[in-house]
């Protein structure tokens, strides 16, 4: 998994009992993990496809398959945890692919993998001890071992590049990734604030300006709009000028 939030072990330990306090929360958390793992799986398989380095290709494929397995395990655990918790709307697992290898190149991508996997290791260690002795504890334990492998192989690759005399490049790549992660976190919170502002603005619009237009729309409405209607005069234009118009 690529964990993208930055929190210390201490904070994670402190937050765990609250974040995982009831079956609904547990199920939601696990579904979130399943989505994140699926997103990483897609990115790793895409990276395996795009790289021309055979060794990276093998490692990325294995990594991608691990993440797919994790996603499935989390999804199954979420289903078990949500027995009795009614799911009203269908929630599909959703994660956007990030296309990072294409955007960043191999070294920076591996640096990203290393940093994110280290965070995943920290997070899952906390959760594995928080849930020690339960099925969920065993699940986190099993996944933790894979994440440790992802952490090790990516570190090994970075070390190899360092040994080849590319230490400066590696350091730069690590720094760039840390900056990007901060930037991504900032943008995420920015977007959240932005969304809130937009919603507030819309609410103002909706309660002030919209009612008038709503009234006009109602008055203009004739019948229920069902039934066949013939084509209008401009509906069948195939001239280039009309095709240029987005309306």
């Amino acid at each position: 998994m690529f964990a993208t939030t930055q929190r210390s072990d201490f904070m994670l330990r402190l937050a765990a009992p609250v974040a995982w306090r009831n079956p609904a929360k547990v199920a939601a958390k696990l579904r979130g993990f399943a989505a994140t793992e699926l997103g990483s799986a897609r990115d790793m398989l895409l990276a395996a496809e795009q790289t021309s380095n055979p060794k990276l290709r093998r490692l990325f494929l294995r990594h991608g398959l691990d993440e797919h397995r994790h996603s499935k395990m989390f999804d199954a655990a979420a289903k078990r945890a949500s027995v009795g918790v009614r799911v009203r709307a269908y929630e599909a697992i959703h994660a956007e692919p990030q296309n990072l290898l294409e955007r960043w190149g191999e070294m920076r991508f591996v640096a990203f993998v290393h940093i994110s996997e280290s965070k995943a290791v920290a997070q899952f260690s906390v959760l594995s001890s928080h849930f020690a002795g339960t099925d969920l504890g065993a699940l986190f334990d099993e996944i933790l071992r894979d994440e440790q492998f992802h952490c090790r192989y990516s570190e090994h690759l970075l070390d190899q590049w360092r040994a080849e005399g590319r230490g400066r490049e590696v350091d730069q790549a690590m720094a760039a990734v840390k900056r990007s992660l901060l930037w991504m976190a900032w943008r995420r919170s920015g977007r959240r604030i932005g969304d809130l502002l937009v919603t507030a603005l819309m609410l103002v619009l909706y309660t002030t300006v919209v009612p008038l237009f709503a009234l006009i729309a109602r008055v203009a409405e004739r019948g229920d709009g069902s039934g066949w209607r013939p084509a209008g005069p401009s509906d069948n234009s195939a001239c280039l000028e009309d095709a240029r118009r987005p309306l």
Binding site: V87, Y90, P97, T199, S226, A238, A243, L247
Partner: protein, 588 residues
């Protein structure tokens, strides 16, 4: 390759099933859905990867393209969203704020968006119309381009239109696609189907197939409840929804209201499993609701088709739009609507709009003559033997290479006869949602336990969904009720037909509970590689038929690349995987 002009790139984005298609001088060069590349099922973003693929396949850059055609009119669609939200006032806030934020953000300025993301110039951009794009995809790819045709399009909703009838005509002077009549949002057979898909616990724009499969287990015993929900005029297919049961006017993520549960009983929890044939009354109720819905959908589509026949006086019909993926309804139209031939575009859903938009611009706007039907299958990405070998070598996977295709066919036929299930990745990827023998999972349809095995160990999907047979077209008539009426639909698996007694006895794994099958007929002329494999299987077993399902796992798009195919193989219980002339086995 030197391409003929004009070079036209069609794009569908920002709804669902984004896609791109490239047409040069009237010839379709490439077309693919974005989901295949990003691995996000029904991906709705700008299809950047699909565009890159189309351009690469044609060997051109965006600057070489004469026109980029967007598949609908964005401002008209925005207008509909706004008017709908206004009419729903004060309950439409969610819809209003989401639409305003999303559309004012970028979608409304499509020209800028396309220019920025694709590097196109503003003067390159054209706009088709949602249903016109569907209609063009159906007509120009049909075998009827020399005749006057009726074209029917039906889906959830485009800009405003939900169902449309066109008259299509094509000769040396050019082509016309004339809209004759339309039904408008919110009265839509597609939205009805979607809302009930959600009610039945499946995902909208994704689970409609499952509803169709589920319907076979039920009886249409909810007709009087459905009378309250929707009125259908059998004579002309007019649909009138009772809006108190639907919420698409005020919510973009909930399709039905509490009143629907009052009418039909509680909705199905998506997390619950469905046991079919039903052991519980609840599961039977869901199957019966699905059966009633299916019957309504068939009545409406039949009515529309009959109306189209009256309006156009044409003897041929072309179909597209999401509802045209309802292969049970398609078969009834073929038999009962009075047409002599019916064609359905293989990418009848919204992805097909990308190709339709490009074809409409090429033939109707730019006046390029259409002398042969457009290619409509095998338009996706392909990989040669060297690319597959190099990937497998990189991965240090043990594989076997066959010297000739014939040896490969013979070997695979033997493994399938022995009961193995194999992945088949050859040639260029399919256009449209169905696997047609380029990205398929194949098995022996004579084994009754095969359905269960593939569902449990390979695809991990719902046990009640049927598998389809692919059969050599010369042999199809003995086992399946195919004939002239469905001959233009079965090559793309777009008709569900009856299975004969002999077929039922021979192919238990592909006969659905109601004695039907969504058969694919395979001809040497149009699908030579797959036909040759079926021929090899026939030499061993006497039947040129295989179970054919898509090469993917549950909830994932069809595999587009050797890497996806190999990863799918590793993650499933597939016994072997063929990629071009390479074979990878689990046992090895």
């Amino acid at each position: 390759m030197t391409l003929q002009r004009p070079i036209v790139l069609g794009i569908n984005a920002y709804f669902h099933d984004s896609a791109a298609a490239l047409v040069a001088g009237g010839q379709v060069i490439a077309a693919a859905a974005e989901e295949r590349f990003t691995r996000v099922k029904h991906d709705s973003g700008l299809p950047l990867k699909a565009v890159a693929f189309c351009l690469a396949q044609a060997g051109v850059g965006i600057e070489d393209v004469d026109h980029v055609v967007f598949y609908e009119k964005p401002i008209r669609k925005f207008e509909r969203l706004m008017v709908t939200a206004l009419k729903a006032f004060p309950r439409g806030f969610g819809q209003f704020s989401r639409a305003t934020a999303r559309w004012l953000g970028k979608r409304l300025w499509m020209e800028g968006e396309l220019c920025e993301a694709l590097g196109a110039a503003p003067e390159q951009i054209l706009y088709s119309d949602h249903h016109r794009s569907h209609a063009a995809s159906a007509f120009f790819a049909s075998p009827f381009i020399d005749e006057r045709c009726a074209v029917v399009t039906a889906d959830g909703v485009g800009e405003w239109t939900s169902t449309a009838i066109y008259s299509a005509h094509n000769d040396a002077q050019g082509a016309t696609l004339e809209l004759l009549a339309e039904q408008r949002f919110p009265h839509s057979i597609g939205l009805l189907y979607s809302a009930l898909t959600a009610y039945l616990g499946f995902r909208v724009n994704n689970g409609e197939y499952k509803v169709m499969g589920l319907a076979a287990y039920g009886e249409p015993r909810f007709c009087s409840e459905f009378e309250e929900l929707v009125q259908v005029d059998d004579d002309d297919g007019t649909v009138r929804l009772n809006l108190k049961y639907f919420s698409h006017d005020r919510s973009s993520d909930r399709a039905f209201t509490a009143a629907l549960e009052g009418l039909l009983g509680p909705a199905r929890d998506p997390a619950d499993s469905l046991a079919l044939p039903a052991v519980s009354e609840e599961d039977q109720r869901f199957a019966d609701v699905a059966a009633t819905l299916q019957q309504i959908c068939e009545r409406a589509m039949l009515g529309v088709a009959r109306h189209a026949r009256r309006l156009t006086q044409a003897s041929r019909l072309c179909l597209a739009g999401g509802v045209a993926l309802n292969s049970v309804a398609n078969t009834r139209i073929a038999h009962e609507a009075g047409f002599e031939g019916v064609y359905v575009h293989p990418a009848a859903g919204d992805s097909g709009g990308a190709l339709g938009a490009a074809l409409w611009a090429t033939h109707c706007v730019l006046g390029v003559p259409c002398s042969t039907p457009s290619k409509s299958s095998g338009l996706g990405s392909g990989f040669d033997q060297a690319q597959v070998e190099s990937m497998l070598s990189d991965l240090r996977v043990r594989y076997r290479t066959f010297d000739t295709d014939e040896e490969l066919y013979a070997f695979v036929a033997e493994r399938l006869e022995d009961g193995d299930v194999g992945g088949w990745f050859r040639g260029r990827m399919e256009w449209g949602p169905r696997a047609l023998g380029q990205r398929s999972i194949l098995a022996d349809p004579r084994r009754a336990d095969m359905t269960d095995r593939i569902n449990r160990k390979i695809k991990f999907r719902e046990a009640f969904r049927p598998f389809a047979p692919a059969i050599l077209d010369d042999d199809a008539g003995t086992h399946f009720e195919v004939g002239a009426a469905t001959e233009h639909m079965t090559p793309h698996m777009l008709a569900v037909v009856g299975v004969t007694d002999q077929g039922r006895a021979t192919f238990p794994a592909v006969t659905h509970v109601d004695g039907t099958a969504r058969v694919q007929t395979v001809s040497h002329r149009t699908n030579a590689d797959f036909a040759a494999l079926l021929e090899a299987f026939k030499r061993r077993t006497g039947v040129g038929c295989l179970l054919n399902t898509s090469l993917n796992l549950k909830g994932e798009p069809l595999c587009a690349s050797p890497m996806h195919a190999y990863a799918t193989f590793k993650r499933s219980g597939l016994d072997f995987l063929v990629m071009e002339r390479c074979l990878v086995s689990k046992a090895a």
